[in-house]
Symmetry: C2
Subunit: 316 residues, 2 copies
Amino acid sequence: MSTRITLLAGGVGGARLAHGFALALPDGGSVGPDGGLTAVVNVGDDTERHGLLVSPDLDTVMYTLAGLNDETRGWGLTDETYTTLDQLARLGEDTWFTLGDRDLATHVVRTAALREGQPLSAVTTRLATALGVRARLLPVTDDRLRTLVDTPSGRVAFQEYFVRRHHADAVLGVELDGASAARPGPGVLDALASADLLVVAPSNPFLSVEPVLAVPGVRDAVLASRARRVAVSPIVGGQAIKGPAAQILETLGHEVSALGVARLYAGLVDVMVVDDVDAALAAPIRDLGLEVLVTDTIMGGPAGRERLARDLLALG
Amino acid sequence: MSTRITLLAGGVGGARLAHGFALALPDGGSVGPDGGLTAVVNVGDDTERHGLLVSPDLDTVMYTLAGLNDETRGWGLTDETYTTLDQLARLGEDTWFTLGDRDLATHVVRTAALREGQPLSAVTTRLATALGVRARLLPVTDDRLRTLVDTPSGRVAFQEYFVRRHHADAVLGVELDGASAARPGPGVLDALASADLLVVAPSNPFLSVEPVLAVPGVRDAVLASRARRVAVSPIVGGQAIKGPAAQILETLGHEVSALGVARLYAGLVDVMVVDDVDAALAAPIRDLGLEVLVTDTIMGGPAGRERLARDLLALG
Protein backbone atom coordinates (compact mmCIF):
# COMPACT_ATOMS: atom_id res chain seq x y z
CA MET A 1 0.00 0.00 0.00
CA SER A 2 1.64 3.29 -1.01
CA THR A 3 -0.72 6.14 -0.39
CA ARG A 4 -0.09 9.63 0.81
CA ILE A 5 -2.80 10.39 3.36
CA THR A 6 -3.39 13.89 4.65
CA LEU A 7 -5.82 14.14 7.53
CA LEU A 8 -7.40 17.38 8.73
CA ALA A 9 -7.84 16.73 12.40
CA GLY A 10 -9.20 18.14 15.60
CA GLY A 11 -8.89 16.32 18.91
CA VAL A 12 -10.46 12.98 19.75
CA GLY A 13 -12.08 12.11 16.38
CA GLY A 14 -8.97 13.21 14.52
CA ALA A 15 -6.72 11.34 16.91
CA ARG A 16 -8.65 8.08 16.60
CA LEU A 17 -8.73 8.16 12.82
CA ALA A 18 -5.03 9.10 12.70
CA HIS A 19 -4.40 6.09 14.92
CA GLY A 20 -6.39 3.93 12.48
CA PHE A 21 -4.22 5.07 9.57
CA ALA A 22 -1.06 4.57 11.61
CA LEU A 23 -2.16 0.97 12.22
CA ALA A 24 -3.21 0.40 8.60
CA LEU A 25 -0.18 1.94 6.90
CA PRO A 26 3.35 0.49 6.82
CA ASP A 27 5.73 1.60 9.56
CA GLY A 28 3.07 3.36 11.63
CA GLY A 29 2.31 5.88 8.89
CA SER A 30 5.91 7.08 8.64
CA VAL A 31 6.12 9.52 5.74
CA GLY A 32 8.48 8.53 2.93
CA PRO A 33 8.50 8.69 -0.87
CA ASP A 34 5.98 5.84 -0.98
CA GLY A 35 3.41 7.55 1.20
CA GLY A 36 2.48 7.82 4.83
CA LEU A 37 0.23 9.82 7.13
CA THR A 38 0.37 13.56 7.65
CA ALA A 39 -2.06 14.96 10.19
CA VAL A 40 -2.74 18.69 9.85
CA VAL A 41 -4.04 19.64 13.27
CA ASN A 42 -6.20 22.43 14.66
CA VAL A 43 -4.50 24.89 16.99
CA GLY A 44 -7.50 27.15 17.62
CA ASP A 45 -8.08 25.54 21.02
CA ASP A 46 -4.54 26.23 22.20
CA THR A 47 -4.44 28.05 25.49
CA GLU A 48 -2.05 29.36 28.07
CA ARG A 49 -2.36 27.98 31.58
CA HIS A 50 -0.01 28.99 34.41
CA GLY A 51 2.20 30.57 31.75
CA LEU A 52 2.49 27.31 29.80
CA LEU A 53 1.24 26.91 26.23
CA VAL A 54 -1.14 23.96 25.98
CA SER A 55 -2.06 22.59 22.54
CA PRO A 56 -4.87 20.16 23.34
CA ASP A 57 -5.59 18.87 19.83
CA LEU A 58 -1.94 18.40 18.89
CA ASP A 59 -1.37 16.60 22.16
CA THR A 60 -4.41 14.35 21.83
CA VAL A 61 -3.31 13.28 18.36
CA MET A 62 0.31 12.88 19.51
CA TYR A 63 -0.50 10.92 22.65
CA THR A 64 -2.98 8.70 20.77
CA LEU A 65 -0.45 7.93 18.03
CA ALA A 66 2.12 7.19 20.75
CA GLY A 67 -0.31 4.79 22.45
CA LEU A 68 -0.23 6.94 25.57
CA ASN A 69 -3.64 8.63 25.45
CA ASP A 70 -6.13 8.11 28.24
CA GLU A 71 -8.84 6.40 26.24
CA THR A 72 -11.48 6.66 28.94
CA ARG A 73 -11.38 10.45 29.13
CA GLY A 74 -10.28 10.95 25.54
CA TRP A 75 -7.52 13.40 26.48
CA GLY A 76 -4.35 13.44 28.53
CA LEU A 77 -2.02 10.60 29.32
CA THR A 78 -2.81 7.25 30.86
CA ASP A 79 -1.99 6.62 34.51
CA GLU A 80 -1.59 10.29 35.24
CA THR A 81 -0.94 11.90 38.60
CA TYR A 82 -1.77 15.48 39.57
CA THR A 83 0.84 16.39 42.15
CA THR A 84 1.96 19.63 40.52
CA LEU A 85 -1.62 20.72 39.84
CA ASP A 86 -2.54 20.16 43.50
CA GLN A 87 0.42 22.27 44.54
CA LEU A 88 -0.49 24.97 42.00
CA ALA A 89 -3.90 25.14 43.68
CA ARG A 90 -2.22 25.45 47.06
CA LEU A 91 -0.19 28.35 45.68
CA GLY A 92 -3.41 30.13 44.74
CA GLU A 93 -3.67 29.18 41.07
CA ASP A 94 -7.03 28.54 39.47
CA THR A 95 -6.77 24.93 38.36
CA TRP A 96 -9.97 24.30 36.43
CA PHE A 97 -7.92 23.15 33.45
CA THR A 98 -6.62 19.74 34.44
CA LEU A 99 -2.94 19.15 33.72
CA GLY A 100 -1.31 15.89 34.75
CA ASP A 101 2.27 15.60 35.90
CA ARG A 102 3.46 13.77 32.78
CA ASP A 103 1.38 15.95 30.48
CA LEU A 104 3.00 19.01 32.05
CA ALA A 105 6.38 17.97 30.68
CA THR A 106 5.00 18.43 27.16
CA HIS A 107 3.83 21.94 27.94
CA VAL A 108 7.06 22.86 29.72
CA VAL A 109 9.18 21.76 26.76
CA ARG A 110 6.88 23.39 24.22
CA THR A 111 6.73 26.67 26.12
CA ALA A 112 10.50 26.81 26.56
CA ALA A 113 11.01 26.18 22.83
CA LEU A 114 8.53 28.87 21.81
CA ARG A 115 10.08 31.38 24.23
CA GLU A 116 13.42 30.66 22.57
CA GLY A 117 11.85 31.54 19.24
CA GLN A 118 11.41 28.04 17.84
CA PRO A 119 8.23 27.54 15.82
CA LEU A 120 5.42 25.35 17.13
CA SER A 121 5.89 22.97 14.19
CA ALA A 122 9.53 22.31 15.11
CA VAL A 123 8.87 21.54 18.76
CA THR A 124 5.85 19.43 17.77
CA THR A 125 8.09 17.28 15.58
CA ARG A 126 10.63 16.97 18.36
CA LEU A 127 8.03 15.98 20.96
CA ALA A 128 6.27 13.50 18.67
CA THR A 129 9.57 11.90 17.67
CA ALA A 130 10.61 11.58 21.31
CA LEU A 131 7.37 9.75 22.04
CA GLY A 132 7.89 7.35 19.13
CA VAL A 133 5.25 8.76 16.77
CA ARG A 134 6.05 7.71 13.18
CA ALA A 135 3.38 9.69 11.32
CA ARG A 136 3.92 13.37 10.60
CA LEU A 137 2.15 15.84 12.88
CA LEU A 138 1.75 19.40 11.61
CA PRO A 139 0.08 22.27 13.40
CA VAL A 140 -1.95 23.99 10.69
CA THR A 141 -0.08 27.19 11.48
CA ASP A 142 2.86 28.37 13.58
CA ASP A 143 1.08 31.68 14.02
CA ARG A 144 -1.29 32.58 16.77
CA LEU A 145 -4.87 31.49 16.06
CA ARG A 146 -7.45 31.34 18.84
CA THR A 147 -11.00 30.12 18.60
CA LEU A 148 -13.44 32.35 20.49
CA VAL A 149 -17.01 31.31 21.15
CA ASP A 150 -19.98 33.66 21.25
CA THR A 151 -22.42 32.60 23.93
CA PRO A 152 -25.53 34.25 25.38
CA SER A 153 -23.29 35.63 28.14
CA GLY A 154 -20.69 37.00 25.75
CA ARG A 155 -17.58 36.00 23.85
CA VAL A 156 -15.28 33.62 25.67
CA ALA A 157 -12.01 31.87 24.87
CA PHE A 158 -12.40 28.33 23.61
CA GLN A 159 -11.22 26.47 26.70
CA GLU A 160 -13.28 28.79 28.89
CA TYR A 161 -16.32 27.58 26.93
CA PHE A 162 -15.24 23.99 26.48
CA VAL A 163 -13.60 22.99 29.74
CA ARG A 164 -14.43 25.57 32.37
CA ARG A 165 -18.11 25.91 31.39
CA HIS A 166 -18.37 22.29 30.21
CA HIS A 167 -19.60 23.38 26.72
CA ALA A 168 -23.00 24.03 28.29
CA ASP A 169 -23.57 27.45 26.67
CA ALA A 170 -25.45 27.80 23.42
CA VAL A 171 -22.94 28.64 20.69
CA LEU A 172 -24.22 31.67 18.81
CA GLY A 173 -21.12 32.01 16.69
CA VAL A 174 -17.44 31.22 16.41
CA GLU A 175 -14.71 33.78 15.89
CA LEU A 176 -11.27 32.64 14.75
CA ASP A 177 -8.99 35.29 16.19
CA GLY A 178 -5.80 35.62 14.17
CA ALA A 179 -6.94 33.31 11.37
CA SER A 180 -6.85 35.88 8.59
CA ALA A 181 -3.24 36.78 9.37
CA ALA A 182 -2.07 33.21 9.98
CA ARG A 183 0.18 31.46 7.48
CA PRO A 184 0.06 27.73 6.84
CA GLY A 185 2.81 25.97 8.79
CA PRO A 186 5.79 24.37 7.06
CA GLY A 187 4.69 21.34 5.04
CA VAL A 188 0.96 21.98 5.30
CA LEU A 189 0.29 23.12 1.73
CA ASP A 190 2.64 20.48 0.35
CA ALA A 191 0.84 17.77 2.29
CA LEU A 192 -2.48 18.93 0.84
CA ALA A 193 -1.16 19.27 -2.71
CA SER A 194 0.64 15.94 -2.80
CA ALA A 195 -1.98 13.83 -1.03
CA ASP A 196 -3.57 10.83 -2.73
CA LEU A 197 -6.32 10.79 -0.14
CA LEU A 198 -7.41 13.83 1.80
CA VAL A 199 -9.55 13.10 4.82
CA VAL A 200 -11.58 15.46 6.99
CA ALA A 201 -11.70 13.68 10.35
CA PRO A 202 -14.95 13.18 12.27
CA SER A 203 -14.13 16.27 14.32
CA ASN A 204 -16.35 19.21 15.18
CA PRO A 205 -16.95 21.09 11.89
CA PHE A 206 -17.09 24.51 13.54
CA LEU A 207 -14.61 24.17 16.39
CA SER A 208 -12.02 21.79 14.93
CA VAL A 209 -12.21 21.65 11.13
CA GLU A 210 -13.11 25.25 10.31
CA PRO A 211 -10.09 26.66 12.22
CA VAL A 212 -7.90 24.47 10.00
CA LEU A 213 -9.63 25.48 6.77
CA ALA A 214 -9.70 29.15 7.79
CA VAL A 215 -5.93 29.56 7.62
CA PRO A 216 -5.52 31.43 4.32
CA GLY A 217 -4.41 29.01 1.61
CA VAL A 218 -5.61 25.84 3.29
CA ARG A 219 -9.18 25.72 1.97
CA ASP A 220 -7.92 26.62 -1.51
CA ALA A 221 -5.30 23.88 -1.34
CA VAL A 222 -8.00 21.37 -0.39
CA LEU A 223 -10.16 22.55 -3.28
CA ALA A 224 -7.22 22.46 -5.71
CA SER A 225 -6.00 19.05 -4.59
CA ARG A 226 -6.22 16.17 -7.05
CA ALA A 227 -6.59 13.78 -4.11
CA ARG A 228 -9.80 11.96 -3.37
CA ARG A 229 -11.38 14.15 -0.71
CA VAL A 230 -13.35 12.41 1.96
CA ALA A 231 -15.12 13.63 5.10
CA VAL A 232 -16.26 11.39 7.92
CA SER A 233 -19.41 12.56 9.68
CA PRO A 234 -18.97 13.33 13.38
CA ILE A 235 -22.74 13.00 13.73
CA VAL A 236 -24.03 9.44 14.00
CA GLY A 237 -27.73 8.73 14.45
CA GLY A 238 -28.36 12.42 15.06
CA GLN A 239 -25.87 12.64 17.91
CA ALA A 240 -22.25 13.63 18.29
CA ILE A 241 -19.89 10.81 19.21
CA LYS A 242 -18.30 13.20 21.67
CA GLY A 243 -18.54 16.89 22.46
CA PRO A 244 -20.94 19.65 21.52
CA ALA A 245 -21.16 19.24 17.72
CA ALA A 246 -24.87 18.35 17.82
CA GLN A 247 -25.86 21.35 19.96
CA ILE A 248 -23.81 23.70 17.79
CA LEU A 249 -25.33 22.43 14.55
CA GLU A 250 -28.74 23.04 16.09
CA THR A 251 -28.15 26.54 17.47
CA LEU A 252 -26.49 27.60 14.21
CA GLY A 253 -29.56 26.43 12.27
CA HIS A 254 -28.27 23.25 10.68
CA GLU A 255 -29.91 19.84 10.62
CA VAL A 256 -28.41 17.69 13.37
CA SER A 257 -27.55 14.72 11.22
CA ALA A 258 -24.92 13.38 8.84
CA LEU A 259 -26.96 15.12 6.13
CA GLY A 260 -26.56 18.43 7.93
CA VAL A 261 -22.80 17.82 8.06
CA ALA A 262 -22.77 16.80 4.40
CA ARG A 263 -24.38 20.12 3.48
CA LEU A 264 -21.49 21.89 5.27
CA TYR A 265 -18.87 19.90 3.39
CA ALA A 266 -20.58 19.82 -0.05
CA GLY A 267 -18.24 21.49 -2.53
CA LEU A 268 -15.24 20.81 -0.29
CA VAL A 269 -15.07 17.00 -0.48
CA ASP A 270 -16.02 14.29 -2.97
CA VAL A 271 -17.13 11.57 -0.62
CA MET A 272 -19.14 11.68 2.59
CA VAL A 273 -18.66 8.78 4.97
CA VAL A 274 -21.65 8.03 7.22
CA ASP A 275 -22.32 5.37 9.76
CA ASP A 276 -24.37 2.28 9.06
CA VAL A 277 -27.17 3.65 11.26
CA ASP A 278 -27.43 6.61 8.86
CA ALA A 279 -27.74 4.50 5.69
CA ALA A 280 -31.08 6.14 4.94
CA LEU A 281 -29.29 9.48 4.55
CA ALA A 282 -27.16 8.21 1.67
CA ALA A 283 -29.75 9.16 -0.96
CA PRO A 284 -30.27 12.79 0.15
CA ILE A 285 -26.50 13.19 0.55
CA ARG A 286 -25.99 11.89 -3.02
CA ASP A 287 -28.54 14.52 -4.09
CA LEU A 288 -25.99 17.12 -2.91
CA GLY A 289 -23.58 15.80 -5.53
CA LEU A 290 -21.50 13.80 -3.06
CA GLU A 291 -20.55 10.16 -3.19
CA VAL A 292 -21.42 8.27 -0.04
CA LEU A 293 -19.66 5.49 1.83
CA VAL A 294 -21.81 3.80 4.45
CA THR A 295 -19.76 1.89 6.99
CA ASP A 296 -19.15 1.44 10.72
CA THR A 297 -17.63 4.78 11.75
CA ILE A 298 -17.57 4.16 15.49
CA MET A 299 -13.90 3.88 16.42
CA GLY A 300 -14.01 2.38 19.87
CA GLY A 301 -10.75 0.48 19.98
CA PRO A 302 -7.72 0.07 17.73
CA ALA A 303 -9.41 -2.63 15.61
CA GLY A 304 -12.36 -0.34 14.76
CA ARG A 305 -10.02 2.52 13.95
CA GLU A 306 -7.87 0.43 11.66
CA ARG A 307 -10.96 -1.00 9.92
CA LEU A 308 -12.37 2.47 9.20
CA ALA A 309 -8.95 3.63 7.96
CA ARG A 310 -8.82 0.65 5.60
CA ASP A 311 -12.31 1.48 4.32
CA LEU A 312 -11.08 5.00 3.57
CA LEU A 313 -7.84 3.79 1.99
CA ALA A 314 -9.95 1.69 -0.37
CA LEU A 315 -11.49 4.96 -1.61
CA GLY A 316 -8.10 6.48 -2.45
CA MET B 1 10.51 40.22 72.82
CA SER B 2 10.29 43.02 70.27
CA THR B 3 13.27 42.97 68.01
CA ARG B 4 13.63 43.69 64.34
CA ILE B 5 15.89 40.98 62.95
CA THR B 6 17.34 41.20 59.47
CA LEU B 7 19.11 38.08 58.26
CA LEU B 8 21.40 37.96 55.24
CA ALA B 9 20.86 34.45 54.02
CA GLY B 10 21.97 31.91 51.47
CA GLY B 11 20.42 28.47 51.24
CA VAL B 12 20.59 25.79 53.92
CA GLY B 13 22.46 27.69 56.67
CA GLY B 14 20.32 30.77 56.11
CA ALA B 15 17.15 28.72 56.03
CA ARG B 16 17.91 26.93 59.28
CA LEU B 17 18.77 30.10 61.14
CA ALA B 18 15.70 31.84 59.70
CA HIS B 19 13.68 28.91 60.99
CA GLY B 20 15.25 29.34 64.41
CA PHE B 21 14.23 32.99 64.53
CA ALA B 22 10.73 32.12 63.30
CA LEU B 23 10.45 29.70 66.22
CA ALA B 24 11.94 32.13 68.75
CA LEU B 25 9.96 35.23 67.72
CA PRO B 26 6.26 35.84 68.29
CA ASP B 27 3.90 34.79 65.51
CA GLY B 28 6.51 32.95 63.48
CA GLY B 29 8.57 36.08 62.92
CA SER B 30 5.71 38.00 61.35
CA VAL B 31 6.88 41.56 60.75
CA GLY B 32 4.92 44.26 62.55
CA PRO B 33 5.69 47.52 64.34
CA ASP B 34 7.11 45.56 67.27
CA GLY B 35 9.62 43.60 65.22
CA GLY B 36 9.86 40.37 63.34
CA LEU B 37 12.16 38.57 60.93
CA THR B 38 13.18 39.81 57.49
CA ALA B 39 15.37 37.46 55.50
CA VAL B 40 17.31 39.12 52.67
CA VAL B 41 18.17 36.25 50.40
CA ASN B 42 20.81 35.55 47.77
CA VAL B 43 19.59 35.21 44.19
CA GLY B 44 22.98 34.66 42.55
CA ASP B 45 22.33 30.93 42.29
CA ASP B 46 19.06 31.42 40.43
CA THR B 47 18.93 29.49 37.21
CA GLU B 48 16.64 28.69 34.33
CA ARG B 49 15.80 25.04 33.76
CA HIS B 50 13.41 23.91 31.03
CA GLY B 51 12.40 27.54 30.62
CA LEU B 52 11.44 27.87 34.29
CA LEU B 53 13.16 30.25 36.69
CA VAL B 54 14.42 28.42 39.75
CA SER B 55 15.50 30.41 42.84
CA PRO B 56 17.12 27.75 45.00
CA ASP B 57 18.05 29.88 48.01
CA LEU B 58 14.71 31.69 48.17
CA ASP B 59 12.94 28.35 47.92
CA THR B 60 15.07 26.65 50.56
CA VAL B 61 14.37 29.48 53.00
CA MET B 62 10.68 29.54 52.05
CA TYR B 63 10.17 25.80 52.27
CA THR B 64 12.08 25.58 55.55
CA LEU B 65 10.04 28.40 57.11
CA ALA B 66 6.88 26.65 55.86
CA GLY B 67 7.98 23.39 57.48
CA LEU B 68 8.02 21.71 54.06
CA ASN B 69 11.75 21.41 53.38
CA ASP B 70 13.31 18.02 52.88
CA GLU B 71 15.63 18.06 55.86
CA THR B 72 17.62 15.03 54.78
CA ARG B 73 18.76 16.53 51.49
CA GLY B 74 18.61 20.13 52.69
CA TRP B 75 16.70 21.32 49.61
CA GLY B 76 13.39 20.67 47.90
CA LEU B 77 10.14 19.56 49.45
CA THR B 78 9.45 16.58 51.64
CA ASP B 79 7.77 13.51 50.14
CA GLU B 80 8.47 14.61 46.60
CA THR B 81 7.76 12.68 43.43
CA TYR B 82 9.53 13.15 40.09
CA THR B 83 6.92 12.25 37.49
CA THR B 84 7.28 15.38 35.39
CA LEU B 85 11.09 15.23 35.50
CA ASP B 86 11.03 11.62 34.31
CA GLN B 87 8.79 12.64 31.43
CA LEU B 88 11.03 15.63 30.63
CA ALA B 89 13.90 13.17 30.31
CA ARG B 90 11.79 11.03 27.98
CA LEU B 91 11.16 14.12 25.87
CA GLY B 92 14.90 14.60 25.47
CA GLU B 93 15.55 17.18 28.19
CA ASP B 94 18.75 17.12 30.19
CA THR B 95 17.51 16.57 33.74
CA TRP B 96 20.64 16.85 35.87
CA PHE B 97 18.94 19.55 37.97
CA THR B 98 16.43 17.66 40.07
CA LEU B 99 12.97 19.24 40.22
CA GLY B 100 10.18 17.51 42.11
CA ASP B 101 6.54 17.63 41.05
CA ARG B 102 5.46 19.85 43.95
CA ASP B 103 8.56 22.03 43.71
CA LEU B 104 7.77 22.57 40.01
CA ALA B 105 4.57 24.38 40.93
CA THR B 106 6.68 27.09 42.60
CA HIS B 107 8.79 27.56 39.49
CA VAL B 108 5.76 27.54 37.19
CA VAL B 109 4.02 30.24 39.21
CA ARG B 110 7.19 32.31 39.57
CA THR B 111 8.04 32.08 35.88
CA ALA B 112 4.52 33.03 34.80
CA ALA B 113 4.57 36.04 37.12
CA LEU B 114 7.95 37.23 35.89
CA ARG B 115 6.88 36.81 32.24
CA GLU B 116 3.89 39.00 33.03
CA GLY B 117 6.29 41.65 34.29
CA GLN B 118 5.79 41.17 38.03
CA PRO B 119 8.96 41.59 40.10
CA LEU B 120 10.57 38.62 41.81
CA SER B 121 9.92 40.20 45.21
CA ALA B 122 6.16 40.35 44.60
CA VAL B 123 5.80 36.74 43.51
CA THR B 124 8.08 35.67 46.37
CA THR B 125 5.73 37.32 48.86
CA ARG B 126 2.73 35.69 47.20
CA LEU B 127 4.30 32.22 47.22
CA ALA B 128 5.55 32.50 50.81
CA THR B 129 2.17 33.75 52.02
CA ALA B 130 0.38 30.89 50.23
CA LEU B 131 2.64 28.42 52.03
CA GLY B 132 1.94 29.99 55.42
CA VAL B 133 5.30 31.70 55.95
CA ARG B 134 4.91 34.52 58.49
CA ALA B 135 8.39 36.05 58.29
CA ARG B 136 9.26 38.42 55.45
CA LEU B 137 11.27 36.98 52.59
CA LEU B 138 13.06 39.45 50.32
CA PRO B 139 15.22 38.64 47.33
CA VAL B 140 18.20 40.98 47.66
CA THR B 141 17.36 42.32 44.20
CA ASP B 142 14.63 42.04 41.58
CA ASP B 143 17.28 42.50 38.92
CA ARG B 144 19.24 39.79 37.23
CA LEU B 145 22.31 38.73 39.21
CA ARG B 146 24.11 35.48 38.40
CA THR B 147 27.03 33.96 40.23
CA LEU B 148 29.64 32.52 37.88
CA VAL B 149 32.45 30.33 39.10
CA ASP B 150 35.96 30.27 37.66
CA THR B 151 37.33 26.75 37.65
CA PRO B 152 40.47 25.21 36.13
CA SER B 153 38.31 24.25 33.13
CA GLY B 154 36.83 27.71 32.69
CA ARG B 155 34.02 29.91 33.90
CA VAL B 156 30.73 28.11 34.53
CA ALA B 157 27.28 29.11 35.76
CA PHE B 158 26.73 28.53 39.46
CA GLN B 159 24.42 25.52 39.22
CA GLU B 160 26.66 24.00 36.58
CA TYR B 161 29.44 24.12 39.17
CA PHE B 162 27.35 23.30 42.21
CA VAL B 163 24.85 20.67 41.07
CA ARG B 164 25.96 19.32 37.72
CA ARG B 165 29.64 19.06 38.66
CA HIS B 166 28.93 18.40 42.35
CA HIS B 167 31.12 21.38 43.42
CA ALA B 168 34.15 19.20 42.75
CA ASP B 169 36.14 21.85 40.82
CA ALA B 170 38.62 24.10 42.52
CA VAL B 171 37.15 27.58 42.71
CA LEU B 172 39.70 30.04 41.38
CA GLY B 173 37.37 33.01 41.57
CA VAL B 174 33.76 34.12 41.69
CA GLU B 175 32.20 36.58 39.26
CA LEU B 176 28.86 38.19 40.13
CA ASP B 177 27.35 38.88 36.74
CA GLY B 178 24.91 41.78 36.87
CA ALA B 179 25.74 42.75 40.45
CA SER B 180 27.08 46.22 39.69
CA ALA B 181 23.86 47.16 37.83
CA ALA B 182 21.49 45.50 40.30
CA ARG B 183 19.34 47.59 42.60
CA PRO B 184 18.32 46.47 46.09
CA GLY B 185 14.82 44.99 46.02
CA PRO B 186 11.88 46.76 47.69
CA GLY B 187 12.28 46.77 51.45
CA VAL B 188 15.89 45.59 51.52
CA LEU B 189 17.58 48.85 52.49
CA ASP B 190 14.79 49.66 54.96
CA ALA B 191 15.19 46.26 56.59
CA LEU B 192 18.92 46.87 56.99
CA ALA B 193 18.50 50.44 58.25
CA SER B 194 15.74 49.66 60.75
CA ALA B 195 17.13 46.40 62.14
CA ASP B 196 17.92 46.01 65.81
CA LEU B 197 19.94 42.90 65.06
CA LEU B 198 21.58 42.24 61.75
CA VAL B 199 22.73 38.67 61.23
CA VAL B 200 24.96 37.18 58.55
CA ALA B 201 23.83 33.56 58.36
CA PRO B 202 26.29 30.65 58.43
CA SER B 203 26.15 30.55 54.64
CA ASN B 204 29.01 30.35 52.16
CA PRO B 205 30.84 33.72 52.38
CA PHE B 206 31.77 33.77 48.69
CA LEU B 207 28.81 32.06 47.04
CA SER B 208 25.91 33.12 49.28
CA VAL B 209 26.78 36.18 51.38
CA GLU B 210 28.98 38.12 48.94
CA PRO B 211 26.27 38.12 46.20
CA VAL B 212 23.97 39.78 48.75
CA LEU B 213 26.54 42.34 49.87
CA ALA B 214 27.62 43.05 46.29
CA VAL B 215 24.31 44.63 45.31
CA PRO B 216 25.19 48.34 45.33
CA GLY B 217 23.91 49.94 48.53
CA VAL B 218 23.63 46.75 50.57
CA ARG B 219 27.12 46.63 52.02
CA ASP B 220 26.96 50.36 52.79
CA ALA B 221 23.60 49.89 54.50
CA VAL B 222 25.07 47.12 56.65
CA LEU B 223 28.02 49.35 57.54
CA ALA B 224 25.74 52.32 58.28
CA SER B 225 23.27 50.31 60.33
CA ARG B 226 22.97 51.07 64.04
CA ALA B 227 21.98 47.46 64.64
CA ARG B 228 24.17 44.96 66.40
CA ARG B 229 25.85 43.14 63.51
CA VAL B 230 26.56 39.50 64.01
CA ALA B 231 27.98 36.80 61.72
CA VAL B 232 27.75 33.08 62.40
CA SER B 233 30.71 31.08 61.12
CA PRO B 234 29.81 28.44 58.52
CA ILE B 235 33.12 26.75 59.34
CA VAL B 236 33.08 24.56 62.45
CA GLY B 237 36.15 22.65 63.53
CA GLY B 238 37.84 23.52 60.24
CA GLN B 239 35.06 22.05 58.12
CA ALA B 240 31.97 23.36 56.39
CA ILE B 241 28.68 22.16 57.86
CA LYS B 242 27.52 21.66 54.29
CA GLY B 243 28.80 22.50 50.82
CA PRO B 244 32.13 23.69 49.45
CA ALA B 245 32.94 26.63 51.77
CA ALA B 246 36.05 24.92 53.19
CA GLN B 247 37.56 24.10 49.77
CA ILE B 248 36.88 27.61 48.51
CA LEU B 249 38.48 29.27 51.52
CA GLU B 250 41.52 27.10 50.88
CA THR B 251 41.87 27.66 47.13
CA LEU B 252 41.35 31.38 47.56
CA GLY B 253 44.15 31.49 50.12
CA HIS B 254 42.23 31.89 53.36
CA GLU B 255 42.59 29.92 56.55
CA VAL B 256 39.99 27.19 56.69
CA SER B 257 38.63 28.01 60.11
CA ALA B 258 36.22 30.28 61.92
CA LEU B 259 39.21 32.63 62.23
CA GLY B 260 39.57 32.69 58.45
CA VAL B 261 35.88 33.57 58.19
CA ALA B 262 36.23 36.21 60.90
CA ARG B 263 39.00 37.87 58.89
CA LEU B 264 36.60 38.11 55.94
CA TYR B 265 33.87 39.69 58.05
CA ALA B 266 36.09 41.97 60.19
CA GLY B 267 34.97 45.55 59.63
CA LEU B 268 31.54 44.39 58.47
CA VAL B 269 30.16 42.96 61.73
CA ASP B 270 30.60 43.57 65.44
CA VAL B 271 30.26 40.03 66.74
CA MET B 272 31.53 36.73 65.41
CA VAL B 273 29.67 33.63 66.55
CA VAL B 274 31.73 30.46 66.59
CA ASP B 275 30.96 26.94 67.66
CA ASP B 276 31.99 25.51 71.01
CA VAL B 277 34.59 23.33 69.29
CA ASP B 278 36.29 26.53 68.08
CA ALA B 279 36.46 28.17 71.52
CA ALA B 280 40.26 28.40 71.18
CA LEU B 281 39.80 30.76 68.23
CA ALA B 282 37.97 33.33 70.36
CA ALA B 283 41.20 35.07 71.38
CA PRO B 284 42.67 35.54 67.87
CA ILE B 285 39.22 36.64 66.60
CA ARG B 286 39.03 39.22 69.39
CA ASP B 287 42.44 40.41 68.24
CA LEU B 288 40.74 41.39 64.96
CA GLY B 289 38.58 43.82 66.93
CA LEU B 290 35.53 41.59 66.98
CA GLU B 291 33.47 40.45 69.90
CA VAL B 292 33.03 36.69 70.05
CA LEU B 293 30.13 34.54 71.10
CA VAL B 294 31.02 30.89 71.60
CA THR B 295 28.00 28.62 71.51
CA ASP B 296 26.56 25.51 69.87
CA THR B 297 26.06 26.59 66.25
CA ILE B 298 25.06 23.19 64.86
CA MET B 299 21.39 23.53 63.93
CA GLY B 300 20.31 19.96 63.44
CA GLY B 301 16.67 20.13 64.36
CA PRO B 302 14.18 22.84 65.26
CA ALA B 303 15.27 22.88 68.91
CA GLY B 304 18.90 23.59 68.00
CA ARG B 305 17.85 26.31 65.56
CA GLU B 306 15.65 28.04 68.09
CA ARG B 307 18.35 27.83 70.74
CA LEU B 308 20.94 29.47 68.47
CA ALA B 309 18.41 32.14 67.47
CA ARG B 310 17.77 32.90 71.13
CA ASP B 311 21.52 33.17 71.77
CA LEU B 312 21.70 35.72 68.97
CA LEU B 313 18.62 37.59 70.16
CA ALA B 314 20.32 37.95 73.53
CA LEU B 315 23.08 39.90 71.73
CA GLY B 316 20.61 42.36 70.20
